[in-house]
C-alpha cells in the first residue's frame, strides 16, 4: 500500500493539485472587494465602541479616528469601552445600582452547547457518510433523501412535538436535550457534505490497501479520513456557525440556566420598551462573534489546503 502511494507521488499526483500563484495585484483587488463586503460588520463593531448618545447621530459616525484629518470631524466618534462593561453588569431600572446580567453564563452555554453538538454530529455523521458512500444499503438514495427532508420543514412544525416529548422525558431546559436536538439538526448537513467528499475520493488506493490485508477500520482511519480533513474542517465550521446563531429552538427549549446568547441578546435589546439599545446590541454581537471568528480563522488552513483532496482522477 505504501508502495502504491509512493508511486503515485513520484508520478506527481498527490502533491500536484492545488492553486496557482498570483501576486500583490490580486491582493489589492481582493482587498477592495472584501472590505466593501465587510463594511456592514465593521459598522456593527464600531457601534460597540460608540458612546450611547452618538449611536443614532445624523450623519452616521463612521470612524473612531480622523485618520490624520482625512475624514471630516462630523463622521468621527470618540471610542469608549463602557458598552462591553454593561453587557455583563448594568442597572436595569433608570438610576438603579448595576446588577449582573448573567451574560457570562449565557456565553458559557453557547460555547458548550454549540461545540458539543457539532462534534457529536461530526462523529456520527462522518461514520454514516462513510457507510452510505462505501457500503450502499438497499434503498440508499431513499435513506439519504429522508435525511435531507429532516432539514426541509420549518422548525416551528417540529417544535411542538419536541417540546411535549422533552417534557415527558424531563429533558426540557437541560443541556442534553438541546445538544441532542442540535446534533440532529446538524446531521443532515454533515452526512450530505461528508458523503460528497468521500464520493470524490479514488477507490484505487483503498482497494490496494484492502488487497494488502487492511481491515475496514484501518482503511477508514488511515486512508479515507486523512484525505477528507478539508471536508471535516469545512463541515465543522458550517455546523458551528449554524448552531452558534440558532434562535427558534433555543428560544423555546432552553431554560433559564441553559439560555444561549442569541436568545438573551434578543431579550436584552428589546426589553424595557425603550426601543433598540444599539450600542448594547453591538457590544454583545461583537463579543459573540469572537469565538466563532477565531475558530473559523484557524480552521481556514485545513479548509483551503485542498492538497490531499482528489488524489487520482476517476
Amino acid at each position: 500500500m505504501a508502495n502504491t502511494i509512493s508511486i503515485l507521488e513520484k508520478l506527481g499526483f498527490r502533491k500536484a493539485s492545488g492553486v496557482d500563484e498570483a501576486g500583490w495585484g490580486r491582493t489589492l483587488f481582493v482587498a477592495a472587494v472584501s472590505l466593501i463586503y465587510f463594511l456592514p460588520v465593521l459598522f456593527i463593531i464600531f457601534t460597540a465602541f460608540k458612546p450611547q448618545a452618538s449611536a443614532l447621530s445624523v450623519p452616521p459616525t463612521l470612524s473612531p479616528t480622523s485618520l490624520f484629518g482625512l475624514i471630516p470631524d462630523q463622521f468621527v466618534f470618540s471610542p469608549t469601552l463602557e458598552n462591553f462593561g454593561s453587557v455583563f453588569e448594568r442597572s436595569m431600572t433608570s438610576g438603579g445600582a448595576p446588577e449582573p446580567t448573567g451574560f457570562d453564563r449565557y456565553f458559557f452555554n453557547s460555547i458548550m452547547i454549540a461545540s458539543m453538538s457539532v462534534l457529536l454530529a461530526l462523529i456520527i455523521g462522518t461514520l454514516a457518510a462513510f457507510g452510505f458512500s462505501r457500503y450502499p444499503l438497499k434503498g440508499n438514495d431513499t435513506y439519504l433523501f429522508i435525511i435531507l427532508t429532516t432539514r426541509m420543514l420549518p422548525a416551528i412544525v417540529v417544535i411542538i412535538p419536541v417540546i411535549l416529548m422533552f417534557r415527558v422525558v424531563g429533558l426540557s431546559g437541560s443541556y442534553i436535550g438541546i445538544i441532542m436536538l442540535y446534533t440532529a439538526f446538524n446531521l443532515a448537513f454533515t452526512i450530505w457534505m461528508m458523503k460528497s467528499f468521500f464520493d470524490e475520493l479514488s477507490l484505487d488506493v483503498e482497494d490496494a490497501a484492502r488487497i494488502d490485508g487492511s481491515t475496514g477500520l484501518r482503511v477508514f482511519f488511515k486512508i479515507c479520513l486523512p484525505q477528507v480533513v478539508a471536508g471535516l474542517a469545512a463541515t465543522f465550521v458550517f455546523g458551528l456557525i449554524l448552531t452558534w446563531n440558532e434562535f427558534l429552538f433555543a428560544l423555546l427549549l432552553s431554560g433559564p440556566d441553559t439560555r444561549t446568547v442569541p436568545v438573551a441578546m434578543n431579550q436584552a435589546v428589546s426589553s424595557g420598551g425603550r426601543g433598540t439599545d444599539w450600542t448594547l446590541l453591538a457590544a454583545i454581537e461583537t463579543l459573540f462573534l469572537i469565538p466563532v471568528f477565531v475558530v473559523t480563522f484557524f480552521l481556514q488552513n485545513h479548509l483551503l489546503r485542498g492538497v490531499t483532496f482528489g488524489t487520482v482522477k476517476r
Partner: protein
Amino acid sequence: MSSLAVTASRPPFISLSLDNWRFALVAGIIALIVSVTLFPADVSFWIVGVFAVLLAMSSVINAYRRQYYGGLLVAPAIAVLFVMNIFPLLWSLGLSFFAYQSSQQTIRFVGLANYIKVLTNDLAATANWNALINTAMFVVLTVAAQMIIGFLLAMIFAKQFPLRRYLLILVLTPMMLSVVASGVFFTYYFDPTFGILSYVIGNITGEQFILMDNKAGAVAGIVFADAWMWSPFVMLLVLAGLVSVPKYLYEAAAIDRVSAWRRFWTITFPYIRGLLMLALLFRTIEAFKLADMVILLTKGGNDTMTISYHLIRIANEQNKTSEGAAISYLMLFMVIVLTNLYLYLANRRQQGA
C-alpha cells in the same frame, strides 16, 4: 465490497438470542399496544422506550455478526434523526388530520379538512396563496443572488496570493453574525431618518429616501440582506471544489492550448458541479424557510409575507397547531418536488457527460 459474505446463519424466529431483532420487533409492538391501553402515558412511554433500546441493540448485534457494515455505520445517525426529527415529523403529520389548538385540550379527527381549508377556504386561502407566491419570488431572487455572488467571490479567491487568508475571513464574517443582530442593524442601515443608505442617497438627490415604502424596495432590502449574509456559504462550497482540481489537468490543458472558456467547462466545472448542486439544494431549502429577515425588516408589511412567517403566525401566535401542520406539509411536498427535480437533472447530466 465483495468481502460482505454471510458468516452466520439467521437465528430462528423464536430463539432468545441477542441478535434476534425480529423477535424484539414483534415483542416491542405488542408491548406498545398493551402499555398504551393499560398504563398512563408517561409509564407506557418508558416501557416503549425500553423495548426500542432492546430492538436497537439486537439489530446492532445482528448487523455486527453478519458484517452488515453499512447498516452499522449508519445506525447511530439514523437513531438520533429518528428520535429528534422523524418521530416529531410523523407526530405533526398526524396532527394535521385533527382539529387541535395548543391553547385547548380538545382534539377531534377531521380527516383532510385542514388541507381543504388552507387551500380553498375564502379568507385564509388568499393569504396563504399570496404568501406562497412571495416565497417563490424570494427563493428565486435570493438563491440566484447568492449563487452568483458566491461563485464570483470563490473565483477571485481561487488563486494563492499574499494575505489571502486574512481577506477570506473578512468575507466569511457576515455568515457568523447572529440573524437577530444583523437583521436589526439592517433596519438601521435602511432607516429613512438615521440610516446610511438614506443619508447617502438623500445627499445625492436632495430628497428623503425611504427604501421600505413600496414592495420593490422592501423586497430589494430583504434580498440584499439575505444574500449578503449567505453568499459566503456558497463561496466556501465552490472554493472547496475549485482548490481540489488537480493542477496537472490545467498543465495538460495549457500544453494543448485549450481556451479559458473550454478549460472551465471541461476541467473546472466537473469538479465543482457536485458542490454547486449541494449549495443550490441547501440554499433553496433555507430560502423556502425565509422568515427571520422578513420579521426583522418589514414584519410582513408591503406585501412581503412569506409562507414560513405566515406559518409561524398561525401556529405560534394564533395557536392553530393543526392548520399550521397542514400548511407545512404542503410546503414539504413542494420542496420535495423541487429537490427531486434538481437531483434528477443532476443525475441526468452526469450520465450524459
